[in-house]
């Protein structure tokens, strides 16, 4: 007989009853998945990264399945922050879901504008600052590839939003020195890190003999990138053991979630797995609970970074 595991976790000052979250961009604003499970059964809904203005995103084709993964090239299609705050956040709070709002901008100023609009919204648990979306026209806009630009975005959001709401900086694995970028955004005011965004990739259609995606390049997700996520989380947790990490990248089972937790994640987001299975989050959550109990953990927190322990 194993004792029930205390499944709760924290990211900054935000508390969550379970460590399993949706991944931004893979659950819209929750309405679609609500038919399949109650949204308050999971740790939190991380909403699709929203920009200041409504946006059409990239042309189709926007998707290509790859071995154990997929490329997407959505390009941050969305309703804009005003419509999102008016319609989606109140609905999520009505469902008693915990909400992490993900924001994305084209300029440092746009992130600050978004932060200003979020400041007065009550009921949200944290803000994810997505500085690593690969699906933008100019790779120069991927702030997370530039240590200085990353800092400036987070600094602007922190100064605008004030001291209470936890800031989670979402970083890209497509960099040479991830711990250095992580350290920079933490110094600028991030309370936690989201690792990893998709990995930049491309598929060429051998019939048309051109890039398959409308946007040419896309973000690779799914089990194919899980080892990249585990490496990134392990590296950053080793460098910054006190900074909580929201881990993600190809998690499709409780076993995968546990792997990310052992590497150093305090919470785990599930993205692409929901495309293949609308109840993936619940399945993963149940499997993770059993795996933790079977290994003798009485709290989830004990397992965070356990792979780093001394011999």
């Amino acid at each position: 007989m194993t004792l029930p595991v205390d499944f709760s976790t924290t990211l900054g000052n935000a508390w969550f009853p379970t460590p399993i979250f949706t991944a931004s961009g893979c659950a819209s604003s929750g309405r679609e998945l609500a038919q399949f499970f109650p949204l308050n059964d999971i740790g939190a809904v991380v909403t699709k990264s929203v920009m200041n203005k409504p946006r059409h995103g990239r042309p189709t084709p926007r998707m290509a399945e790859t071995p154990s993964g997929m490329l997407n090239s959505i390009g941050l299609q969305g309703p804009g922050i005003d419509a999102f705050l008016a319609k989606d956040v109140p609905w999520l709070l009505e469902q008693k879901a915990r909400v992490i709002v993900s924001i994305a901008g084209e300029t440092v100023e746009e992130y600050s504008t978004l932060a200003r609009k979020l400041r007065s919204v009550s009921g949200i648990s944290a803000v994810e600052v997505n500085i690593s979306c690969p699906n933008v026209e100019n790779r120069g806009m991927v702030f997370a590839c530039d240590p200085d630009a990353s800092r400036r975005v987070i600094d602007g959001v922190r100064k605008t939003i004030g001291g209470d709401l936890p800031i989670i900086a979402k970083l890209s694995p497509d960099v040479t020195d991830l711990p250095a970028i992580a350290r920079g955004v933490v110094e600028a005011g991030a309370d936690a890190l989201a690792l990893i965004n998709t990995v930049l990739g491309m598929v060429i259609n051998i019939d048309s003999m051109r890039p398959h995606l409308g946007g040419k390049t896309g973000g690779l997700s799914g089990p194919a990138i899980r080892p990249v996520a585990v490496r990134a989380i392990y590296q950053v947790h080793a460098a910054l053991p006190k900074v909580p990490i929201l881990g993600m990248g190809g998690v499709s089972s409780g076993r995968d979630a546990l792997e990310l937790i052992l590497a150093g994640a305090s919470g785990v987001s599930v993205g692409t797995a929901s495309f293949g299975n609308p109840t993936a989050l619940i399945k993963i959550q149940n499997e993770l609970r059993d795996l933790l109990a079977a290994r003798g953990f009485t709290t989830m927190q004990q397992a965070v970074g356990f792979a780093h322990r001394d011999e």
């Binding site: 038919q35 409504p54 990239r58 998707m63 997407n72 299609q77």
Partner: protein, 282 residues
């Protein structure tokens, strides 16, 4: 309370039939109560490849027809072309296999409240859902004519039992191996006029749907089409299957063909912008 995917259920179901019909497979699933919520035009999203599959995405298939008998319970029929790795896997599943489905999904064809003259146009396996639709229309007193087209005769799907609800059936193939040589749009305007068509329902390749929309744009005919755009999830969360669709105010939105489709008003789809992005607020 869910506001989207309201009737959808995820369920493990059993394959109870799988036979080749021309270039396609007719697959019958025992789905039980789900049939009560299925309407012509809805689709099903199926997990493919089994436990250790490298295919992470569901495959969407139009529901060809459903039936509910006291002997067998609820069954769902799909007409599947074994083209890609996922559809080939599905077509290789023998009777007795258990598969994971989510259904019903998407919008359905609008059924008129009065008896009208309907023309159903199918391209390739796109004809599959039209026979179930024909049954419903006939039961409402509508007169139903049908045009089917494909590149070659073996790609025409027209089951004998399906023809019962159809007043007339005309077949076109591009190579002339079955029916008349040519495309379904060949004498479309003439047929609409002669048969006093009030509403067109179409399902097939995007090029065909666009061509029909253009031909009927000046006529007083309603055109509802079931679009086909590649999907990753089928439930509205991936945002990959979007199409440019006109709003009331003249602006254009990128709408998901899984949630706001597959059945859409032909004239609302901005066929000229498919594969592009609308001008405003890029």
């Amino acid at each position: 309370m869910a506001t989207i995917n309201r009737s959808a259920q995820q369920q493990i179901v059993t394959v109870v039939g799988n036979k080749r019909v021309g270039a396609y497979h007719q697959i019958l699933l025992h789905v039980g109560e789900i049939v009560k919520n299925c309407r012509p035009g809805n689709f099903v999203a199926i997990s493919v490849g089994g436990e250790s599959s490298k295919m992470v995405l569901r495959r969407a298939f139009a529901i060809s027809r459903v039936s509910d008998s006291s002997q067998y319970g609820g069954t769902m029929e799909l007409i599947v072309a074994p083209h890609g790795s996922g559809s080939k896997w599905l077509c290789a599943q023998p009777e007795g296999t258990e598969i994971d489905i989510v259904a019903p999904l998407g919008t359905a064809f609008g059924i008129p409240t009065e008896s009208v003259n309907a023309l159903l146009i199918g391209g390739g396996y796109g004809s599959a859902p039209l026979f179930g639709l024909a049954d419903v229309l006939k039961s409402r007193g509508c007169k139903v004519d049908m045009l089917l087209g494909a590149s070659i005769g073996s790609k025409i799907y027209a089951p004998l039992e399906g023809k019962r609800s159809v007043n007339s059936l005309k077949i076109y193939t591009e190579d002339g191996s079955m029916g008349e040589t040519g495309r379904v749009t060949e004498s479309l305007l003439e047929i609409i006029e002669n048969r006093e068509i009030d509403i067109i329902y179409s399902c097939g390749p995007m090029g065909m749907l666009a061509a029909i929309t253009e031909l009927v744009s000046d006529l007083d005919v309603i055109h509802q089409c079931a679009v086909e755009e590649s999907m990753a999830c089928g439930i509205g969360i991936c945002m990959t299957c979007v199409l440019p669709v006109s709003n009331e105010d003249g602006s254009t939105s990128m709408l998901r063909s899984c949630i706001d489709g597959p059945v859409m008003e032909g004239e609302k789809v901005r066929w000229d912008l498919v594969g592009k992005i609308p001008e405003a607020h890029q």
